[in-house]
């Protein structure tokens, strides 16, 4: 058994799985075949439904991977095969020759600049050129160049060799060869993602026309970092288009080309791209041609509505139209308008193909080489109740490799896979990881002695800013004891130089003038720490991104500005004080609220990871909603799944179950919570380090709608489910979808109701093929591989009629207006079944207890809709299942394992480390007004009663205290405190003030110091 895991694929799925594992004590190899990690998400401009900037939320994760001590990143490497068994796998990896030594390359980009060979840039989906030696995108990790061997002039023709000549650190190596290595790991996680569908397979869309592009290409056009800096122009003539059409389902829902699945994300990304395009150019006219709009996720329906109402995006219901190119090369689309039944042709300036998600080549190759079973769609096969387990025990899967899914579902599944791998290897936890070791910190002398290191960054800074001049200037600044220039401050040899300088000159503050702290601060902080300096005594002066790169033509002014920036950094750093992350002990136990499938799964996964769990359930029995389900989508019996789970929970001696129980009190914070549970009239105290909220949801009762409650023949889908389970057959059934959903009162889509309806329609038909089953729907939202269920239903003769006006339920029949035929149809029905959504349970109590937010529908609000789907903004509390929003059983299980994984990243720690630069209260000045308590989103400050003695009178006063374990260091409280009693350390008003002050003295006004500076250059 090995305490290590190989994660195959460095997209968002692989990244999340690797981070979770590395954070919970496992050595993790992350293997990515491209030069940089980031996957398709790195190419996205924004993410739906919040239109968050994709790179902004992704890039911190990339950096985290790059510097995690327990993650070994193997980029530009392919996995050839996986062999062995759970606990002991051998993974064969080929490290492809990148012809650049990763250890030496500083990512300065000089080679790229000088390289004469240009090739199509895959990062911009082929819409611009990159060089043959390149870094794929600005935020790439690892930030090292790669030579594209197929196009490099030296490697193909033996000519050129420029990159080698210009490379300062001598990293280019034309002799490099592919290298095969073998990894010994305990478990493997497959996160091999998807491949965008190639639309040239479908001639009718005329992808050969330059103005017919894929949605991924359009995404790049919209992006500020794309080929046109975010200006949407036509490829053919560079003109700004006026009318744009999206064709949905290109490469999805198409059995003729063997793409039977729905790709799950295209409706939403088309909506998103339309909104962004409209935001860029409000005059744009955008039409989306769709079969159904599948806005099934949390806040998707709202997003779709906004697209129509606020942005005027036109949605036309039709089969995917055909693209027509006329003699003058103009584009038009021919389509049948389902709403009117008419055949129409319309001209457009640009056509976007919403391409689907195909299984990736590496998924297929790995399945073949290593004997991993695939499902009918070519995805890695999993069971409905085991959504991350592959056919090989110990090999797990997550993300689009398991089936099309969006980012939050991918991230949840990635954490789930991590939980399973960690549970398998829990005995080996911590055996293969290393802690960084540092020398003791040197005592801080009262006098600041600042060292300034000014970087040339190859020619990036040096060709614009006069670096020696800046160094000379730095020497004249107060408290500067040493200054020098460096060619590449970030290269590994420079770290040695900096450490030596600290040592020899007794430096106690360090300023590096180079690039952005957002990427490089941790590197230099580490260097300082290695030299015995507290990392908070370091400051970066950004003279590259904020200076040389943006004032390329004004060398003198840029030099002046660089001096100014250095001066501000020096002034600020003189005030720096050492700061320490505090270590607080924690309770390695968890509390799980809710004993449904989600709660039980979470409890089991945490227990399998080796931690004690208290599981509380409000009812007498465990099981939640699944108790009332009578068949699963794949035909399995729910009781089989439920019995196994319940047994395992009761038999697990790390799990304590409390029935008929509810939480009544909680205090504490991450790692150290204390609560009271009321179970069967008894108060049970509970201590825990992390909690998982899995309280589920409940069915909506459609009282008063469609004669429900008045006519006994009108029932809900949940009632039909039970009926069918009891063997009661149904004849002539009409189902009405979206009852109590997607309307003014309840805007969201119920997500599971379409799938439930189709499943039960199929059951009725299978039991009695003579029965007639009608489904009246608005959009059929059988997303992902559930599309097959929809197809089965149609094949069995279930009739689907789209309605736009509410149907009318009469005694014994339903009348619906068929807009295509433009007439009312009367359907004789013995049974009318209303499909209603899940609605939020009584979440307010928990919301109050943990101070965790609810969304406008009463469901719990996750920390971030994309990348933190099972986290709360409050640390130490996690979320899963339908308590977050309605979801399918398999999704709830994925999320539950994910929540367990996230909880284990905390429970596996020996202590909790707090943020170093936290805010502190000066009690003498605090007036106990509570403003800080009100502004803090993390509940870090609290008012305490303190006895104050002043002039021999003692009295009790309220004073604020900030809990360093809860403070994240944003500084909002310091800015809000009316009496200035709060200091946001490292960003104190004094420090900021010094910087502002220095700005005033900028260049020329300062009096040069004489004599005392001992500076060596």
């Amino acid at each position: 058994m090995k305490g290590s895991v190989a994660v195959v694929g460095g997209g968002i799925a692989g990244i999340q799985a690797a981070l979770d594992l590395a954070d919970s004590g496992f050595k993790t190899y992350l293997i990515e075949s491209r030069p940089s990690i980031g996957g398709v998400m790195s190419q996205l401009d924004k993410t739906f439904p919040t239109n968050d900037c994709a790179m902004c939320i992704l890039s911190p994760k990339l950096v985290e991977i790059g510097r995690h001590p327990n993650i070994e990143l193997l980029s530009y490497s392919d996995v050839k095969s996986i062999s062995g068994e759970a606990g002991d796998f051998k993974v064969k990896v080929v490290k492809k020759a990148r012809y650049v030594d990763e250890a030496k390359c500083t990512g300065c980009g000089s080679c790229t600049e000088k390289c004469p060979s240009k090739v199509l840039d895959e990062y911009n989906a082929g819409m611009s050129k990159r060089k043959s030696i390149y870094i794929p995108f600005a935020q790439a990790i690892p930030r090292v160049a790669t030579i594209d061997a197929a196009h490099c002039l030296y490697l193909t023709k033996g000519k050129c060799g420029v990159c080698k000549k210009v490379c300062g650190p001598k990293a280019v190596d034309y002799e490099m060869k592919d290298k095969e290595i073998e990894l010994d790991v305990g478990s493997v996680i497959l996160a091999t993602g998807f491949k965008p569908f190639d639309p040239s397979l479908l001639k009718q869309y005329r992808f050969d026309h330059p103005d017919v592009i894929t949605s991924l290409q359009f995404e790049r056009l919209l992006s500020a970092s794309g080929p046109t800096q975010g200006h949407v122009t036509r490829q053919s003539d560079g003109k700004v288009p006026k009318r744009i059409a999206f064709i949905q389902c290109v490469g999805s829902r198409n059995p003729r080309i063997d793409r039977k699945h729905c790709s799950s994300v295209c409706c939403m990304y088309a909506t998103k791209e339309s909104i962004i395009a409209k935001e860029h150019d409000p005059e744009l006219d955008i039409t989306i041609f769709h079969i159904d709009i599948r806005a099934f996720g949390k806040n998707f329906e709202e997003f779709y509505n906004r697209a129509q109402e606020e942005y005027g995006i036109r949605y036309i219901n039709s089969r995917p139209p055909e693209t027509i190119v006329d003699a003058r090369n103009n584009l038009s689309l021919r389509y049948e308008d389902f709403d009117s039944g008419e055949l129409k042709t319309e001209a457009f300036d640009m056509v976007i193909l919403s391409i689907g998600l195909d299984p990736s080549d590496s998924t297929r190759d790995l399945a073949q080489s290593s004997g991993i079973a695939l499902d009918d769609f070519g995805n890695i096969a999993t069971g409905i109740e085991k959504p991350v387990e592959t056919s090989i025990s110990g090999v797990y899967v997550c993300g689009a490799a398991q089936g099309p899914k969006d980012i939050p579902d991918t991230v949840a599944q990635a954490s789930a896979a991590a939980a399973k791998a960690a549970a398998l290897l829990s005995k080996e936890r911590g055996t293969m990881i290393k802690e960084r070791e540092f020398p003791d910190e040197k005592p801080l002398l009262p006098e600041p002695r600042i060292g300034v290191f000014v970087c040339h960054c190859g020619i990036n800074i040096g060709s614009v800013v006069n670096v020696p001049d800046v160094v000379e200037y730095a020497k004249t600044l107060p408290d500067v004891a040493y200054a020098r220039e460096m060619l590449y401050a970030c290269s590994s040899d420079s770290q040695v130089t900096i450490k030596d300088a600290i040592e020899k000159n007794n430096l106690n503050r360090v300023v590096v003038a180079s690039c952005t702290p957002r990427t490089h601060e941790p590197l230099f902080q580490n260097t300082c720490r290695e030299a015995g300096l507290n990392p908070y005594l370091f400051e970066l002066a950004n003279i590259r991104e904020h200076c040389s790169w943006v004032h390329m033509k004004e060398k003198e002014k840029a030099t002046e500005k660089a001096k100014g920036i250095v001066q501000m950094a020096v002034a600020k750093s003189a005030l720096f004080q050492p700061l320490y992350k505090q270590k607080v002990p924690l309770i390695n136990k968890a509390l799980v609220l809710g004993g449904g499938v989600a709660g039980m799964t979470a409890a089991l996964d945490i227990a399998d990871n080796g931690y004690e769990v208290t599981l509380i359930e409000k009812e007498k029995e465990l099981g939640g909603m699944l108790k009332h389900t009578t068949e699963l989508y794949d035909g399995k019996k729910p009781s089989d799944v439920l019995d196994v789970l319940t047994c395992r929970v009761y038999e697990n001696n790390r799990i304590r179950v409390l029935n008929e129980a509810r939480l009544t009190k909680v205090e504490g914070y991450l790692g150290n919570f204390k609560g009271i549970i009321l179970s069967k009239g008894e108060e049970v105290p509970v201590d825990f380090g992390a909690a998982v909220v899995a309280t589920g949801a409940r069915n909506f009762e459609p009282v008063g709608l469609f004669n429900y409650g008045k006519d006994a023949h009108v029932i809900t889908q949940a009632q039909l489910e039970r009926m069918l389970g009891e063997g009661i057959s149904a004849n002539n059934t009409t189902m009405i979808q979206c009852v109590g959903a997607r309307n003014k009162d309840r805007e969201y889509c119920g997500r599971t109701c379409c799938i439930d309806a189709v499943k039960n329609a199929v059951r009725i038909k299978r039991a009695n093929s003579k029965s007639s089953v009608y489904v009246l729907y608005r959009d059929m939202r059988t997303y992902g591989v559930m599309e097959r269920l929809y197809e089965d239903a149609r094949e069995l003769g279930v009739i689907f009629i789209k309605y736009t006006r509410d149907p009318e339920v009469q005694y014994g029949s339903v009348v619906v207006h068929d807009s295509m035929l433009n007439e009312d149809i009367e359907i004789a029905s013995d049974l009318v079944v209303l499909s209603t959504p899940l609605v939020a349970g009584e979440n307010e109590v928990i919301n109050q207890l943990f101070k965790i937010p609810l969304d406008k529908n009463g469901f719990f609000l996750e920390a971030h809709p994309k990348l933190r789907p099972v986290d709360f903004a409050t640390d130490g509390v996690f979320l899963c299942g339908s308590a977050q929003a309605p979801k399918l059983m398999s999704e709830a299980i994925s999320q539950a394992s994910a929540a367990a994984s996230r909880a284990c990243t905390i429970l596996s720690r020996e202590f909790i480390e707090t943020e170093g630069a936290v805010s502190v209260v000066d009690e003498a000045r605090c007036i106990g007004c509570g403003t800080c308590v009100a502004v803090c989103p993390y509940n870090a400050p609290s008012l305490q009663e303190v006895t104050v003695t002043s002039e021999e009178v003692s009295y009790i006063a309220k004073k604020s205290r900030i809990n360093p374990a809860a403070c994240k260091g944003c500084g909002s409280c310091a800015a809000a405190c009316p009496v200035g009693a709060i200091t946001a350390q490292h960003f104190s008003s004094k420090e900021i003030g010094e910087a502002i002050d220095a700005f005033n003295k900028d260049i020329g006004l300062i009096e040069p110091k004489t004599g005392t500076v001992e500076a060596v250059v």
Binding site: A224, C970, G971, A975, N1000, L1005
Partner: protein, 142 residues
């Protein structure tokens, strides 16, 4: 010094997670800007104390820019909501002091909006060049 050559001095407060990143992206995209601005990095725009802004004016800033993440994107849940409130107050005080409204500006810039950051700096510099030095500038500071 001729009005043409006079370069205003602008202080921009940027939050670490978004607008500072926007300034970085401007660099990465090589979006050229006048060298008028000095950036002060704070973790969140919510850290920006009105006092810092006044301080900057009193130290000779010709304009002060308050920037942060787009509403809803704040790394610390809602720091920028608080910034918005404080900014309203700042605006009113600045108006009271008789300073032109161009000299104090608020902008939400995401880490990917390099071009937006650059054009913001270009625009503000242009506007301030027209207005000339700040009336609050202490003597002896150019």
């Amino acid at each position: 010094m001729s009005a043409e050559a006079w370069e205003p001095k602008i202080v921009a407060f940027c939050c670490n997670w978004c607008s500072y990143g926007g300034a970085d992206s401007a660099g990465m995209g090589r979006f050229q800007q006048p060298p008028s601005t000095r950036i002060i990095r704070v973790m969140c725009s919510g850290r920006i104390d009105p006092l810092h802004v006044f301080n900057a004016f009193l130290e000779g800033a010709d304009a002060v820019l308050v920037t942060g993440c787009h509403i809803g994107d704040c790394h610390y849940v809602n720091g920028n909501d608080k910034t918005k409130i404080k900014y309203k107050f700042l605006e009113s005080v600045v108006r009271e002091l008789g300073i032109e409204k161009e000299r104090l500006q608020l902008n939400w810039i995401s880490a990917s909006e390099g071009e937006k950051f650059a054009s913001f700096i270009r625009d503000v510099t242009e506007q301030i060049k027209k207005l000339g030095p700040s009336p609050l500038k202490p003597e002896g500071v150019s």
